[in-house]
Symmetry: D2
Amino acid sequence: MGVTSGKGFLDRLNKMKNEVWFDGERVNGNISEHLAFKGILKAKASLYDLQIDSDLKDEMTFFLPEEKEPFGISYMQPKTKDDLQKRRKMMQAWARNTHGLMGRSPDYMNTVVMSFASSASILNGRDNCFPDHLHALYKRALKQDLSFTHTFITPQVNRSQVYMEFSDEPISAKIVEKNNTGLVIKGARLLATQGGLTDEVLVFSAPRLFIDSSEVFAFSIPSNTKGLKFICRESFVGGESFFNHPLSSQYEEMDSIVVFDNVMVPWDRVFYYENVDAAADFLLQSSFYSFAYHQVITRQIVKTEFILGVTELIVKAINVGEYQHIQDKLSEIIIGLETMRALLEKSENDAVADVFGIMRPSLISLQAASTIYPKIYPRFSEIIQLIGASGMILLPTEKAFQSEIRPDLDQYLQSDSMNAKDRVKLFRLAWDLTMSSFGTRQTQYERYFFGDPVKLSSNLYSNYPKDFYVEEVRKFLNQQ
Amino acid sequence: MGVTSGKGFLDRLNKMKNEVWFDGERVNGNISEHLAFKGILKAKASLYDLQIDSDLKDEMTFFLPEEKEPFGISYMQPKTKDDLQKRRKMMQAWARNTHGLMGRSPDYMNTVVMSFASSASILNGRDNCFPDHLHALYKRALKQDLSFTHTFITPQVNRSQVYMEFSDEPISAKIVEKNNTGLVIKGARLLATQGGLTDEVLVFSAPRLFIDSSEVFAFSIPSNTKGLKFICRESFVGGESFFNHPLSSQYEEMDSIVVFDNVMVPWDRVFYYENVDAAADFLLQSSFYSFAYHQVITRQIVKTEFILGVTELIVKAINVGEYQHIQDKLSEIIIGLETMRALLEKSENDAVADVFGIMRPSLISLQAASTIYPKIYPRFSEIIQLIGASGMILLPTEKAFQSEIRPDLDQYLQSDSMNAKDRVKLFRLAWDLTMSSFGTRQTQYERYFFGDPVKLSSNLYSNYPKDFYVEEVRKFLNQQ
Amino acid sequence: MGVTSGKGFLDRLNKMKNEVWFDGERVNGNISEHLAFKGILKAKASLYDLQIDSDLKDEMTFFLPEEKEPFGISYMQPKTKDDLQKRRKMMQAWARNTHGLMGRSPDYMNTVVMSFASSASILNGRDNCFPDHLHALYKRALKQDLSFTHTFITPQVNRSQVYMEFSDEPISAKIVEKNNTGLVIKGARLLATQGGLTDEVLVFSAPRLFIDSSEVFAFSIPSNTKGLKFICRESFVGGESFFNHPLSSQYEEMDSIVVFDNVMVPWDRVFYYENVDAAADFLLQSSFYSFAYHQVITRQIVKTEFILGVTELIVKAINVGEYQHIQDKLSEIIIGLETMRALLEKSENDAVADVFGIMRPSLISLQAASTIYPKIYPRFSEIIQLIGASGMILLPTEKAFQSEIRPDLDQYLQSDSMNAKDRVKLFRLAWDLTMSSFGTRQTQYERYFFGDPVKLSSNLYSNYPKDFYVEEVRKFLNQQ
Amino acid sequence: MGVTSGKGFLDRLNKMKNEVWFDGERVNGNISEHLAFKGILKAKASLYDLQIDSDLKDEMTFFLPEEKEPFGISYMQPKTKDDLQKRRKMMQAWARNTHGLMGRSPDYMNTVVMSFASSASILNGRDNCFPDHLHALYKRALKQDLSFTHTFITPQVNRSQVYMEFSDEPISAKIVEKNNTGLVIKGARLLATQGGLTDEVLVFSAPRLFIDSSEVFAFSIPSNTKGLKFICRESFVGGESFFNHPLSSQYEEMDSIVVFDNVMVPWDRVFYYENVDAAADFLLQSSFYSFAYHQVITRQIVKTEFILGVTELIVKAINVGEYQHIQDKLSEIIIGLETMRALLEKSENDAVADVFGIMRPSLISLQAASTIYPKIYPRFSEIIQLIGASGMILLPTEKAFQSEIRPDLDQYLQSDSMNAKDRVKLFRLAWDLTMSSFGTRQTQYERYFFGDPVKLSSNLYSNYPKDFYVEEVRKFLNQQ
């Protein structure tokens, strides 16, 4: 069928009846109508609708030689630098539509599926590995325009370096049985964003010290597989009023714990299992990091543009652009934006085709960008709070503007260049972006997108080719 | 009557029927039962109850020679360093009871009233000044154990340095008429914390450039004075569950815009008006800053203790105390705590009796502390988020723990040293302290408690006695 | 004659007998043999020699249609992006030869002369402007491969915003007479790097508030013009031993005050005078900033490579690469390097031909880079000191290694992976780079290369096109 | 004899003929006349002279019941808080005399000797321990007013956590023989400040992982003991001109490697050896840290006062006090000064007599201060550079002011409020304080005074009593 429409996606999801637990109750009825999920699902549907907008066809879809229907470009395997740019522009368009605030817009996981399939040959001929199942995944996902979540964080029982789990019952998800049908998984994984709101769940293991082989596996199964449960956190939807909660009413994605209650994973869904080396090789040698970073940084740039716009509008609203310390703060955002853009562009300029013929953006620039963003994003949030100052706090609600107290609000909350209602609307946006439960979760999300910032720095240092520079210094020292 | 009890305070407040607007509706019925206010009013009442606790009499109350009833120590005019310490210990006790999270515990404004009255003679013999009315205020407040709010921030219409208001109708509150009865005030003031939740409102003007004399006044009137309206922001009470929202359910204080709709201020309530110099002199020469800082820093220290406790408990819960970067972050909090304490203690050691015989804590150390805290508090909040990491996000609700999904939660959210429920409870506290709408408002509150941090630095620099050090350098340079 | 050789340059300079004052004495004899200047002049000569190295011809020189001799590429007017890259590679080669430590390698001023001449038409038809003289300058410079210094900092009498000079005798250089021969200039300019070590001095005025028209001029005159004096600061050459002072013995450039003692500037050397608007327009509309930044950032990248090499070699020498905080520090340098590179590359990708047909690198990315570097360079210096720790202090001299104490040094200063002498040599390099008088002057130099960092931020903010982002936010807010 | 005079000290030192190696040559003749040492020795002598100044007797000296002569207060064992303050005032007076720039003014080691002797009983009855020898050391030092250096940093061969030395010949100093006479020591220790410029060398071992018992010892021997060599680094004396190098000409202390070439340490000089536990207990349980920190922080406060004076004088010289970012920078210094002072004062207020009857300043506040200073001192240095800007670079020498070029200097280097010579003198001071080799060594010295800053933070965290705060949070959580 090729690309899906928003409605197509929502209908399919409503029918699945995934086991989603929210505030102590299992979600019944259409999930797209549930207060905690309607906003984000509507926003997600709007992305799918862009794919079938006839004006945007060329920008959003591509064709495969042997197929008639158009497919979503986020599934495209890039062979040239031009392809790479097409991918970036498509992802940018989706990000613009959601102002970079949907962390798990479908292109993210589509990209992951594409990169996994493109690198499947790494698993060729290795024990307990099924590269063909990755190809099948890709075909299925592409043709049905499936949506995915994934999860690789293990429960936070003990973060000591030398911790090994000893418990009778698994805590971290493990293989507890292998039989003719497939693997049986029991235990949990933390923090699947949009868990329960997607067609499938892609599960794989991140390499770590002391990992037990029973914790090593990769597979993808439908979200409504028996025994699969999604337990949600509290919702950060502040309410349905756009005026009051312009962001959380639309972009609150929900995170959930994924529980595997003796979940049966059929063999044809398994990509590898119990092969620690293959799992490690696959993550490092595949194009996963290159393409995942490429998507994420594209989105983060759009988000930064939005932040710049919000901040500048506040500066205009209260007329503080003349202060040197304000200019300095704005220039920080500008520098962040330009830096991220330049690094993304460089990753495309330096792209090289890998052994599978896939044009990979250069990892180094992307790694640099992804080490920078977790540091600058929280600062941007802080800058908005510092500029907004007391104006971030005293923000009446939409109903107040609809009540008899309105003339007072109009008079006393006006700014020089904005009427009171517009000004409050703008500041409520700034507040929702940086200070509401939704906003602070965004901050935490960007901080930890690719894991512990401490490890990101370590990895960048370790992977960086430093020999040339060391050699230059040695030569300098040896000149006399 | 002397000190009030919690019940006494609540009854009095319920009877006042202050004009409080919340989410487009005027609050009817007992304000102490309204969802948005019940938590904070209960917490406030619990402070008053400490005063009548017979075990705490000596710590909480004092006697005046000519009076029989005990009075609250926050109203005590200190004559000795010992008095100063008594004041500090009493304020500490209240702060401990609320973990430093009630920004406007009654002792803050009691202290302000005490300092104003103690410095009233500054106004003696000056035009449009009524020092006796300050003495009367103090007597009334002391004897009835009144509670106050105050407000001096003007509407944020335009923050340019050269802005002057030109509008037909006042925006910033102004004197629009003077008659036999008193002053008539029209316009607004921003950000009265606990506005409408106190017996009286103390209004005075902060000196600034280009201030018009019609904006210069100081008075205190009952919160239910005709024409006085309090317009609230959205409530940050997350709900009534202690488990879910341990802080906002108790300590959300509410902020409000104070509207003066042609409010008549009787002459015997006016302290000064239309005398720009007297107003400026009064704020600078009175003991206002010394005592207000002394209270605030006492409370901030207790809050920092609470933050240290929460952070260390998280470190234990997920067992990350071995990491050097974690130790470094904790040491930042410890240094902050020790620094604030040392500066507060120094301000008491260096206290000197002023010309009115009042023992004033030394302003310099307090100014240093109050310039430091707006910078370190947001960092503490960040540290908790950095250590809690993904654990700050995935936090199921109390109802989830009461549902059939509980065994999954118990198994998968346990930590090494805590069961799942206790761990989630702890992390929900950390989240409410730093990431909920309540928590981020606390951050903004500490950042701006005494106004623009940029100006705090300027003031510290300007007021600091630097001549001795300059002279030492001159001598050094002139030695040869 | 086209490109000069090192010897050619030195001979020419020695003959000029510029009036250079050093430590209270006028420099006599060959300046290239003077202790304070021999190192830098030798280094400069080595750059010129690269131009006549037959292996490097294509990389270093270009031809003009009507001319037979090759010219230095730093004089090339780029018409295409390819030309831009040629320029960058040539400048990179010179920077590599001096490890980015020669702030005023000749390509800097050559670039300035090129950009001035390329933009000369801006002055067409304006009062007191002589665009043809700029063309003549370019021709002369190109053909004789002249070397320049320039100076635009005025004496630091008073840095208040509202300062205007009132003194009987000029302090800041001014036009004191105009006659048939030309302009007579009296007064001083601060901080000509390599002042007295170049063929000519290019003088022009930076726009500022309250500038008097008598301070507005631009011209270029020989360094040995009568009345022109260069007063040097203390020399930072630590000595002639490469082991002891590997950098200052080669790259100490010297800075000088330029005194104009009634200097006669012939009309044919004047580009403009007493036209405040033309001067401001010229600096802002010409390609000066684009090309000057392009050169500077090219050099700074090479310097950062050198810093990365030195730091990594220290990490290896004392085997501290395993520490997370060390990895974090190295990753800061790597991120800085990658960021600068990406921004430079983007400036070339986004280059556009200006109205004069010159391919200008995009200013925005370069402005971002030039706002970043003054902040990260001092941090790099700090990182080296933090990693080197006590090893940066205890560094015996070359003579100690040549004395009978050597066996002790060999035994006690060895490191795991380096013998004592090599280790001390390396740490002396690190020390000379960051802690010697030479090293700290480098830090100050990078901090202030393009002026006050506070103003750089302001400019970036002011010039940045923000409207699109503001508009996006407005659209978002107006959706409902 | 009691307190010595400056001359007494110098005569004694000159007679010792310590084996000091400087720039490849052994120092011959009077060390107090050697160019590299004359400045610091003169400065040191001036401190001793203060002790015999009849006006300062009470401030500088104390009496012991059984003795007639006065002794230096830095040797006084404090029994009361009043004694503690006397010690602090005496140390402050010495620090003021040298502007806090002499890191190893004699009171530092006198304090160490006093604290060691006061805690000697810790060694009572333990293997290989000689507490009586510590008492003898104290008596000898007190009565002769001896001066000491010490050294505990081991050679920087390999800083990996798991490094153990394996080499045929010792690198780090070790016991290589024990015989009737005493211990024979071979190997080196790094970084004895003023090594060779003191009467004795106090050697002891800092506890560390994997330490071999042969590296564990503590003793004090005369600096001219046979086989003891001091190998100096390059001198940072910039010259003898006070104008040119106001600080390095007086306060450059020199650091040296201490080589033990089979040095025989007589038994009566040994305090302990080969007892790892006793060594560790002694350092942790003795009052060493309390008193050493107390001295250091007293000095650092005086240094900060000097820095504040220099910075404010620069601000006045170039009239930049109106800028908000300048005020902010100055306020940073002020906050640092007030914080250090408050913490020092608190350590005295909280002092408690230890089991030996010695009034120990509280360690926690001192540890906080000593963790803060290594971070703020480098920032102060940076602030001076940022405010001085280009004025820090272009600084002519004294000879230039004595030459015929002087009128130019007078005219062009004047500032609004200072003549050229005074202004250059001031800026040369600022440069010598922060940018000369002397200045940067001061920065490194303060950064590493008590070792690796990373470990200081760890220690503060580990030692800090956190249980009360954790318990408060537990109680809060358990209230419902």
